[in-house]
């Protein structure tokens, strides 16, 4: 504990260097803008800036990437409260009560409530990160290839069993991601796979390009299809709103604490932030004395989902940094950024690059605090980004996406891939194939395959190595139960007659 504290102080020393603070502020501002714009999300913002980050020192670069993420978390709520359009998927639940409250003339208060809830959720997430990350990393040091593979199985099982999407289509999306990752050079034997003599396919697909296409362009097509019309509520956040919001938030400690807890718990699992916000909203509505208030601007209906979303977003850092398994597409892209610096996320990172890890953790503290201040002070300014006509914004977004896709590998072919992935993302969205697990499979593909092959060699070909106690066995069993949950749940209901 004391050692962690010393490390944190050391990390703060790095995060509070003037250059790093300036970078954090730039990242936060970009992140908030990206979060405010529907169609551009955190994953995309981070992906586009990966080439820029390479020119910086590792710690600074990762501070920039994570600041964009924090900014996007904050920014999403501005759009949902003032425009009734979720700027990010996890702020959908905020529109239920945030927009009605803003419409009733209390836009400032609604924003303040949302921002403070974000701050509180984030705070709990960071505390968790600061004190549990070293512990988990210590345990993870004992992991061999078999254990790493089972943890990955658990990650993907969570998508299949718990996401609420069609389990079959989720499996297909995951397999498709793995197949895309396998194209190109086989990392173990050096043979070429599925290239069919094409030089362009030899390099394989870069997942950053896929992310930009799937999330950036795909979302744009959806927005264009819906014929976006933005009509917002004008808001000003004055000192009075801040005080009033603070007073209000203290009156709902249950919503705040429960939201943050649900968020942090869900964030540890993949794809957490969006279900977390819905779950928190549902819980607080169920347990509230006056349910009728919800949907008409209940403060608790803003506090719970917002603190859950930010809590989930923050605690998603934990599995990424300790196990090398990102919980969300944005985290996957940040992890990709780490790997470009030659930093392999996972338990060894704590041993080999302690200064970097603690610099990153400290920057979570700093970034979230500065972010809170920024949105509080400049929310109306950021909201005005949405006043720009969509037909001006849209081509600029496409242009910036093209820059990002090209600059990853300096290949024009990647820009074509981006366009194809854009159409694919649109189709996937329409047909209910989830995109997040596919991106994760694409990111983790090589690692998963390597871990599996090494484990099988260790086990001399017997798959029983994945059921070896004490670590692999429980994880694998949990993974299987969760994977088959869509099948188990109805059986259980039948047997016990109770709805789960």
């Amino acid at each position: 504990m004391i050692e962690d504290f010393n490390n944190l102080v050391m990390g703060l020393g790095i995060a509070l260097q003037t250059y790093n603070i300036v970078i954090a502020v730039v990242g936060l501002i970009l992140g908030i803008i990206v979060g405010v714009l529907p169609g551009l999300g955190g994953a995309n913002g981070v992906a586009i800036l990966i080439p820029v980050v390479v020119t910086m020192p590792a710690t600074t670069g990762v501070i920039l990437l994570s600041s964009i993420y924090w900014g996007a978390l904050y920014g999403g709520s501005i759009t949902s409260i003032l425009f009734n359009i979720p700027g990010e998927p996890w702020s959908v639940a905020t529109t239920f009560d945030g927009y009605p409250m803003a419409k009733a003339g209390k836009a400032g208060k609604a924003l303040v409530l949302a921002f403070f809830s974000h701050g509180a959720g984030g705070l709990l997430g960071i505390v968790l990160l600061t004190f549990f990350a070293p512990v988990i990393a210590e345990i993870a040091l004992k992991f061999g290839p078999a254990e790493i593979f089972t943890v990955m199985m658990l990650t993907f099982s969570a998508f299949v069993g718990l996401s609420g999407k069609s389990p079959l289509k989720t499996v297909i999306a995951i397999l498709f991601g793995f197949i895309l990752a396998a194209i190109g050079m086989d990392i173990v034997s050096g043979q070429l796979r599925m290239t069919f003599g094409s030089v362009a396919l030899m390099g394989g697909f870069n997942f950053v390009v896929a992310v930009i296409g799937l999330f950036g362009l795909g979302e744009i097509f959806l927005t264009v299809e819906e014929g976006l019309k933005v009509e917002g509520i004008v808001a000003r956040v004055g000192l009075k709103d801040v005080l009033e919001g603070l007073k209000e938030i203290i009156r709902y400690p249950k919503a705040l604490i429960m939201g943050a807890l649900v968020g942090c718990w869900m964030g540890l699992k993949p794809g957490g932030a969006t279900p977390a916000s819905f779950m928190a909203y549902g819980f607080i509505k169920q347990s509230s004395a006056n349910k009728d208030e919800f949907g008409k601007g209940a403060p608790a209906g803003i506090i719970a989902p917002e603190s859950a979303a930010h809590g989930a977003g923050t605690s998603a850092t934990l599995p990424m940094i300790t196990l090398g398994i990102p919980g969300s597409p944005t985290m996957a892209v940040i992890m990709g950024g780490l790997m470009i610096f030659g930093l392999q996320p996972g338990p060894m990172l704590f041993k080999e690059h302690a200064d970097f890890v603690w610099g990153l953790i400290a920057s979570c503290w700093v970034g979230n605090l500065i972010g809170l201040f920024l949105v509080m002070a400049f929310a109306p300014l950021f909201a005005s980004v949405l006043k720009i006509r969509f037909s001006i914004l849209m081509p600029i977004i496409v242009y910036v996406c093209a820059i990002g896709a090209y600059a990853v590998n300096n290949r024009v072919i990647d820009v074509y891939y981006m366009l194809i992935f854009g159409v694919l993302g649109y189709l996937f969205k329409k047909l209910d194939y989830p995109i997040a697990p596919m991106v994760l499979a694409l990111v983790l593909g090589d690692m998963a395959e390597q871990a599996m092959r090494q484990a099988l060699i260790m086990g001399q070909g017997s798959p029983m190595i994945f059921f070896k106690p004490p670590i692999a066995l429980p994880i694998m069993v949990a993974a299987l139960v969760i994977f088959f949950w869509p099948v188990i749940a109805p059986v259980k209901t039948k047997l016990f007659g109770k709805k789960t």
Binding site: S189, F221, I396, A402, V412
Partner: protein, 158 residues
């Protein structure tokens, strides 16, 4: 929507067959140094085929039950989407000739003026200022060279 669903799952089946074929040629069994190159993709391919066939069966049953279905792309929405896809593709093609920034300037101007019906003054201003500032940020400040195409280097004198 269902027709598209069926088509996509058929495509996935086809992809699965391609993957399985490729991994069989590479060898998917236990080789001299453990699993061969095609080992992992082989099972991915098999999984993809089985999964897609299951989806296909489900969608087909629904399709036969009620033929009227929600359209994949709502009426009248295909045009605006094509208005995004086609010019963006053309931009990339032009990029190979004159470089990304000039191509993007043309693209911005084209989309804002013809599709967005934005006034000439704004169109010109945005389609000049944005590429120029991005050019200086990326190519000059961060030293990330963006594609210049065949003639781009000669067209940008600074």
């Amino acid at each position: 929507m269902r027709k598209a669903d069926i088509l996509v799952s058929l495509l996935f089946v086809a992809l699965g067959i391609v993957v399985v074929y490729d991994s069989v040629t590479l060898g998917f069994q236990w080789g001299a140094n453990g699993p061969e190159s095609g080992f992992f993709p082989f099972y991915l391919g098999v999984g993809l085929i089985v999964g897609s066939l299951l989806v296909l069966r489900k969608v087909w049953a629904e399709y036969r039950q009620k033929r009227s279905a929600v359209r994949l792309i709502p009426e009248g929405a295909l045009r605006p989407i094509l208005w995004v896809v086609v010019p963006a593709t053309v931009m990339v093609v032009i990029t190979e000739l004159v470089g990304l920034h000039i191509a993007a300037a043309l693209y911005l101007g084209f989309y804002m003026r013809l599709v967005g019906k934005i006034g000439w003054a704004t169109t010109l201003l945005v389609s000049i200022i944005v590429p120029v500032s991005l050019y200086f940020t990326f190519d000059k400040f961060f030293l990330i060279p963006l594609p210049q195409g065949l003639w781009g280097a000669k067209l940008i004198p600074f």
